[in-house]
Subunit: 391 residues, 4 copies
């Protein structure tokens, strides 16, 4: 039984800036809510829109002082890095196609970055960012937020401790239906626009969450990938559904299914992992429960905050069991780990073993996965090398 | 389909103070997280403990300036009411037995109050607070937090609009097991101590949530109550389980079951309401779903943020469907409605129809319910008058 | 892990007759299907209707030879008891009001009886049948069929073996909606007719299943009962909903809720039993699963045929786990136990410890429960003595 | 709302014989129970074992007269076809490798056949049986039993009527764990023996159920198949897990996952079908429910016997809603359709539109699917032609 806790950063709050988050943006508000919950940082700067007027309006609403509301990210990176009270990190929530340049601008000015996934349009770009992060010893987070759930962290710990033996089969999916029809006719959908989204819509937007989640939880490395990308909605240029078959190093195999045309589904990310000794099953839409079966025993329902959980789950539990935590808490956990790492690094402390978050390299891994799927699909689903990118 | 939104108060932030929330306190942190999520107010004062040292430590950690960290609530009420930048409202999270005096002190100084449930030890105390609130035209919230969930608000709207016809039967419960054993031997449990908790433990702590929730959702008024309060754990003075039978005005009937000894249960608040035309069912532990059945049709699963929801649910939805919201969001909704009401009142605006929250009178209703249950149980479960208290 | 088995009676088949089961009857066919599944007996006689023509038609369709199709049950009892190849037992599936006389007629001729519930209109009648059964050492089954499910039998065994400690609270219900409207206007509904159904509709028809199930599973004896019977549908003479509060000997308490007006519910019999060491939960509509929680551990999902089940469940499992068994198998289990007992008795063998079925005394217990509920409700829900009937 | 019915064949019972079903056999008993439930036929002959003594023992226990208990299937086919009261059909429940010869023997003697799946070891054998069936105008059933569930039949009807629009994606699986360990060391497991099981264990045993179910429900024809067959348990010769990617004619795609090493899973056959207008989801382990979502509406839970079901479900519903039907009822439905078809044919009546069952050609389709999967897997998962076999 885990006691819920008020998980807030020790020490003074950090300062952060935002790139993105202008009128109509949703995701920026979610990043901010996650940071607010953990009380680890305050928003103090931002470039909320390429339109200076819009940027000013959004920034004022967020309580940012006018002199730190910028009309371009370049200007912001330069100005903030020059201030003694400049931002400690920047949050990037713009469309995929702009990530690389924005992140690079801040990294080059020595500013830590938290960026939406997918990290960039090409693997080379992603690897370039990784090198810059390492070169300057900065902290870079790619917000694969679903890894922030306590039970996901428990799943990782459980599998690493041999709780289900050696993994044999992974079944993972992410089913939505928001692109089941031709939404593009009535509103702007940058995700289906190759210029802004890159080579893939469905795999890039949600398939990459599957890849990240499975790697996070199982530690498995992909060996080979075969994929069938489909575009079901007429007139669309990019994929809206993918069937991916994965062979991992060591013999395990897996099916991934991301879909944006799965009529009747909302945000159905789930994974099921079957090992020699047992299995686990988790669904993002009801994240406070996890099914765990050991061979020869009836399955048990682990509950967030409940019994038989390890220190990893305990570290990230805010509410007692039965008091549901949602996605805001997962965001908070990611940002708490990230901000704590930044603080620890400044104080010369080692990173806490539980304060993990998806890194730039995880981001590069994700971008390569997207390209691997696209390449296989274009080659009539031939196997392609799915190994992690090489720096 | 409801778009998730960044629900934050318009206009400048309010200032609030906290009474309670010292070392080891959990619930104060939850109040604060709810307020943080909505960005409606900042903590600026507090009396965090009767021990001035502990109060100072907790207050500093919360970022409150030292001159506004108080050693007694009386001192705090006096000082804050005298400041031009004094708090706009106070949050009271102390044990039940102290609510009345603390709330009165702030009300009498003209300060709005948000107080944990149950509101007070006696109905007379509660009614006295109601009169003071009304006398000064203040805003008073009793934090029956579960009414903050979007689907609970939808249930209320649905029933009021005749969605299930006339209510016939209500089945509601709140099942926990944290008092299944003699916890009192190893730690301080003020809820089982009559001096601090009042006449009831189980009904006072969680039975009152059932009463509030059912009234909130159905609008039904209780006519008569019959109750069996049990104390299963030896040596305990107050009840740890109750079976309550309710007759409502108009002929509907209901069973309420609060329990703190329901082995294997975590925080199982649920209600099921059966009417002439259909029924609804909701479980707090999975608050993003609601079962809705219309007579002659298969049941549907309404999802938070999903289809077929009305404006009440829409008003309080922060995340898109499939992105689970938890209890923090429910707290935020309560505080958003409360803070907005305070601001509107100052600006002479009428209260928004959706910005409802449990009031002092709801609190008085809850206290009377607790006493009615105790009275019936002491009279061998004879029917007692369960009507709402009379001012 | 339990192997599914082909559960069929050893030795030659018994012969049985049917009273009831004429045109439009449903339940007689279900009895027959249950017997067919177990291959324990063949239908060889019957009085299928009071109308001789209808009786002949139904009997011929069932393959009964014409000389053993009777126009009255009295004639049938007399003739069958006189034949050397007469029936070994009779199945009675007529309306409640006729059970007593029919059962008595067969018992007095030395013929074993299997009768639908409730056993009779009055407790005295039921006790009279018990005495006749015992006087002649016959086998009498009252078909509380839900006790035939393997997981129900496991629940009984588990509780008797202390698996959840001492029972504290029982929550049981049976929710249907087939009488939510005035069905009587368009078809014949004998269950709402006092002449045919007796003093109660809802408690008599399904409340009695709750009482039987809880006693079967827990072994608890009722001490006192308080009930609120309601008639929600205008013009109806008998109850269609009941709220029952039960105090058991030894201090446990319970809520029973039978309803025939629970809009949106189908056949929702369920029980939840909370003890000092754990709890179980079972729902008839998904009978192949049972939730079991031990204090301090996450809950487990026991599956029919799966792991951690005892010999009682094993004895009654026909299909391997994952191959769902339904209500037909529960009927078969009841009849297999009953027929095996008849055969064993003839061979002077003791009854097998697993071959249990609801007896005439269980039937009497059920009839008294119905009357106790009615008596309490008529006395404004005063407590009434709910002890088992005394022979 | 569908009324449950006593579904029994009209007219006199048929006579059937059994090949297989000796000591230790389980599946033969299940066939028999299904036939018993529908009362369409009586067992009157059999070759229960290759060992005449064992055959005699099993036959006697089944009530078959000694002169119709045979020591070989050939002898049985010859003798029964020569009798004026010979069997109307034979049930074949022997290991896969023997199906072809046994079926052929009976077909050639003009006797109808019901045979376990997979139908034969090779597609050629299966097609040969199809030709013989057609040549003699006999009725041949391959017992893909899961198609017998009422809600499965409703799914088929719903999709054919456009209820979910054009199918885009199919996700289907069959997860078990009975071969997760090396069971072969301690008992005889013919399914993992290439001589008896053929080219595949997992795909042949359960993958073929997926293929049959998806075709039955959707009517989709496979165009191309890519498969990864794995053998996870050391020392095993055949596959125990398969990942199959399917492209259907017309552009739909699907993932099939049969596994016998999915630790913690029992008999998890399920399908989810996503179309342009909605989706359905069904799980064999809880067959009385089906999830149905129409685009733009919340999902509904269809219940067997409940609302919004069509005539196909109604035709095969035995129990009212809420009274769970299990696998026995599905078997009964298959045999009821089969026996009724035999009777109708004799009387020159056309086959009833609802009385469908898996045919010899469905069996051939299944055998080809197994071989296609094996061929693709052996070719490093290259696409293979997955079209139905050509007569």
């Amino acid at each position: 039984m885990i006691e819920g806790r008020d998980i807030v950063s020790a020490g003074p709050r950090l300062r952060y800036g935002l790139v993105g988050g202008g009128p109509g943006s949703f995701i920026a508000g979610v990043h901010r809510a996650g940071i607010d919950l953990t009380r680890a940082a305050d928003i103090t700067a931002g470039c909320f829109s390429r339109d200076r007027e819009k940027s000013l309006a959004a920034g004022s609403a967020a309580g940012v002082s006018e002199d730190r509301i910028y009309g371009s990210y370049g200007e912001m990176a330069e100005a903030e890095s020059a201030r003694p009270d400049g931002i400690d990190f920047v949050v990037v929530t713009t469309p995929n196609g702009t990530h690389y340049e924005i992140c690079r601008a801040f990294l080059d000015r020595g500013i830590n970055v938290s960026c939406d996934k997918p990290l960039s349009l090409t693997t080379d770009e992603a690897l370039d960012l990784v090198r810059r992060v390492r070169g300057k010893d900065l902290s870079f987070m790619v917000t694969y937020v679903y890894t922030g759930y306590p039970l996901v962290r428990h799943a990782r710990e459980l599998i690493r401790n041999g709780g289900i033996g050696d993994v044999r089969v992974v079944m993972a999916e992410y089913a939505q239906d928001w692109l089941a029809d031709r939404l593009e006719d009535t509103k702007t959908v940058w995700r289906t626009d190759p210029e802004q989204a890159g080579v893939s819509c469905c795999v890039g937007d949600i398939g990459t969450h599957i890849e990240n989640m499975v790697h996070f939880v199982t530690g498995l490395e992909i060996d080979r990938i075969s994929a069938v990308l489909s575009t079901f909605v007429p007139g669309r240029e990019l994929d809206d559904n993918a069937l991916v078959t994965v062979k991992y190093r060591g013999g395990a195999v897996g099916h991934y299914w991301p879909s944006q045309v799965a009529a009747g589904r909302e945000n159905g990310l789930s994974f099921r992992v079957y090992g020699t000794e047992g299995s686990i099953e988790w669904h993002q839409e009801n994240p406070n429960e996890m099914r765990f079966a050991r061979k020869g025993h009836p399955s048990v329902t682990l509950t967030r905050g409940g019994y038989d959980l390890g220190p990893s789950a305990a570290r990230w539990t805010r509410m007692p069991s039965g008091h549901p935590e949602g996605l805001f808490a997962a965001w908070a956990n990611l940002y708490e780990a990230y901000c704590s790492t930044i603080k620890n690094k400044r104080q010369g402390k080692a990173q806490d073993e539980f304060e993990i978050f998806p890194t730039a390299f995880d981001g590069a891994r994700g971008v390569k996965f997207v390209h691997d799927c696209v390449a296989s699909s274009r080659a009539d689903s031939a196997w392609v090398d799915g190994a992690p990118p090489v720096l």
